[in-house]
Amino acid sequence: MRIQIKNGRLIDPRNGIDAVLDVYIAAGKVTAVGLAPDGFNANQVIDAAGLVVAPGLVDLSARLREPGFEYKATLESELQAAAAGGVTSLSCPPDTDPVLDEPGLVEMLKHRAKLLSLAHVYPLGALTRQLEGKQLTEMSELTEAGCVGFSHADMPLTDTLVLRRAMQYAATFGFTVWLRPEEAHLAKGGVAHDGEVAARLGLAGIPVSAETIAISTILALMQDTGARVHLCRLSTRVAVDMVRQAKKQGLLLTCDIATNHLHLTEHDIGYFDANCHLKPPLRSQRDRDALHAGLADGTIDAICSDHAPVDDDGKLAPFAESEVGSTGLELLLPLTLKWAQATATPLSAALARIGSIPAGLLGIDAGHLAVGATADVCIFDPEQYWKVERSVLKSQGKNTPFMGLELAGKVRWTLVAGQVVYQA
């Protein structure tokens, strides 16, 4: 299969390209950029005039719900959502059922994803067995099976001795530990930011200190162990300050935030909108402003979708009893573009946050379109608006705070390894 993508505005942040250039693809790889290779004879020509041609997006956190939670979503439905969202590589946390703590499970997941050929799936292995926070997993074996890092998902890891040993062990092999910073005791029972809205609505709060104490602990253990840590989904101003300082000190620390937190605050909960029941909770306006500042100065490395499809029944309950999460794969691009527009961030810099940078964090060869690269491509119309509706979303989860809103940024073609997996 030989494909020519012509007349598009090629934006390849890693290679510093932002120009109208054609891309030539053969045998799943990029074979040329700009001028056609000698004798190139395309089977398919994609006319991308007026469209942006970018490396396929890389999402750092997408729950696919398989194995174990197929009533919420299936691998197939969510990888189709990825394709529709222009996401060609994604990392999934280990909190499936069974937990991704055994090489066989990881191999099975990789194999199933490969058969579907809709996106490259990079599992994060469980940091401890069953995510119980007691015994380490076989990190080396899990890595051989395809894990790109180790995470404790949203499960509490209260025993700091276990955390320290897990970080030591991971550091032995140079594996990255992925942690969402949340001190379990302070967060217990909480469902919203411990602030004005929680006070008004009578919702149990999660204080800012739940995040900052966890980060303090992690930073101290990083100093002890030399482990490389990626902090998942920061939400508070103080956390951004702490990471900024730690990076200045040279710690091997990176972090991301979720698209929801880029745009929403505690006030968006309104009259108990269960779609805003998220982890970490939506914080205050000041916190959101600090997240923007952290992205601007590079303290925050990447933006992720924090994709967590929930079935309708899961959200049909009073706020605190509703399930946590929102669908996100199909909103990663438009919500990132919305942020870029609001903050006058250049398109190339914005795409780097959901492409080349997260690829680097995962240690995978993706997020760029140099000659020889795997031909994962996202072709989108940055100006075209589309309405977020149940019928439009491919994800089995129809839960998002952005339901009913019109967003700019419509994916028109998605290619994975030189194959068209989505077209609209």
């Binding site: 602030g195 004005e196 008004r200 009578g202 009259y271 029944d313 309950a317 605190a320």
Partner: protein, 317 residues
């Protein structure tokens, strides 16, 4: 954001919380309640305003007093009344809130009075029911208990008609109290210029001052020169965790005694939503004393609930 409590032309459709209701509606409820106070004193304690209507009390959380006053209010309006203590029946069999509600809708209920342990449960049910059904929140988690807030301000207005010239102190567990939140919104909406909350920091929500109240931790300072003292109930289970060291220490610091009450204005009144923990948040001498309006509150509660029900029934016509 649409206000889920009002119809398009601004009439009361559901009563879910005091917050979000305009002063005109609160005043209308209080004035209507005023006209109902006479009904309970008649020999035939009934008016036919809700004849042919079915009111369902669904209590996902147990209650005796509130359920009884709602029942009486509905009956005095000539409605047919069904009361369910779901807390002890189908919910424990795994039925969801909506299953329960759907079953009652199928029985052609016109009005739901709901209590639930989760904040937002009444909003959740109101979103689900059809346009001809009205929902009254009889308490949802820590969020709201609007008829209690209304009967409290109704009582205050009876004794202190000039709401624009009042100093009110709310004392106790504001953090877990739906009553406190309703009282705060009712008082501030009706134009009370100074609302204080008095509690230890463990029993106050973060950023509570954003609700328009002044925060006091010292009860003597907080009670000084107030016209109304509104006590809150302290649940026994608050004593077992790390919120408070003991009932004794709580009473010493925040219990209302005659001595402390003497710091308030001489004609100050004392309210309590009941049931009281005598010797924990309030001394018996105060509860039964001349400044207490705790029993009148219960009486007025029926009139206020009749007012709300009759206004809701009127909104559908």
């Amino acid at each position: 954001m649409n206000n889920p409590q009002l119809t398009k032309d601004g009439k009361l459709k559901h009563l879910l919380s005091i917050e979000g209701l305009p002063k005109s509606i609160l005043t209308e409820i209080l004035d209507t309640a005023e006209s109902f106070t006479g009904v309970s004193e008649r020999e035939v304690k009934k008016v036919p305003l809700l004849r042919g209507k079915t009111v369902c009390n669904i209590f996902f959380e147990n209650s005796t007093r509130t359920r009884t006053t709602f029942e009486l209010a509905a009956k005095r309006l000539s409605a047919d009344v069904v009361s369910l203590n779901v807390g002890t029946s189908s919910q424990s069999k795994g039925e969801t809130i909506l299953d329960t509600v759907d079953n009652l809708i199928a029985m052609h209920a016109d009005m739901f009075v709901v209590r639930h342990s989760q904040s937002g449960a009444a909003h959740f049910i109101a979103r689900h029911v059809g346009p001809h059904i009205h929902v009254i929140n009889a308490g949802d988690g820590r969020h709201s208990h609007p008829t209690q807030g209304l009967l409290d301000v109704f009582t205050i207005r009876r004794y202190k008609p000039d709401m624009h010239n009042l100093r009110v102190a709310i004392v106790g567990d504001v953090l877990h109290s739906r009553v406190a939140r309703s009282e705060i919104h009712a008082l501030t909406t009706l134009g009370v210029p100074e609302v204080r909350v008095i509690a230890p920091k463990t029993l106050l929500p973060q950023d509570v001052e954003r609700l328009g109240v002044q925060v006091y931790h010292d009860m003597s300072a907080g009670l000084k020169d107030v016209d109304v003292v509104m006590m809150l109930r302290l649940q026994n289970e608050r004593m077992t965790g790390a919120l408070l060291p003991s009932a004794q220490e709580y009473f010493k610091c925040y219990g209302l005694t005659q001595e402390k009450l003497a710091l308030a204005r001489p004609d100050a009144i004392v309210t309590h939503p009941g049931p009281m923990n005598r010797g924990v948040e309030i001394d018996s001498a105060v509860a039964d004393g001349s400044q207490s309006v705790i029993l009148p509150q219960v009486t007025y509660g029926i009139a206020v609930r009749m007012a709300v029900m009759s206004m809701l029934a009127g909104a559908s016509e």
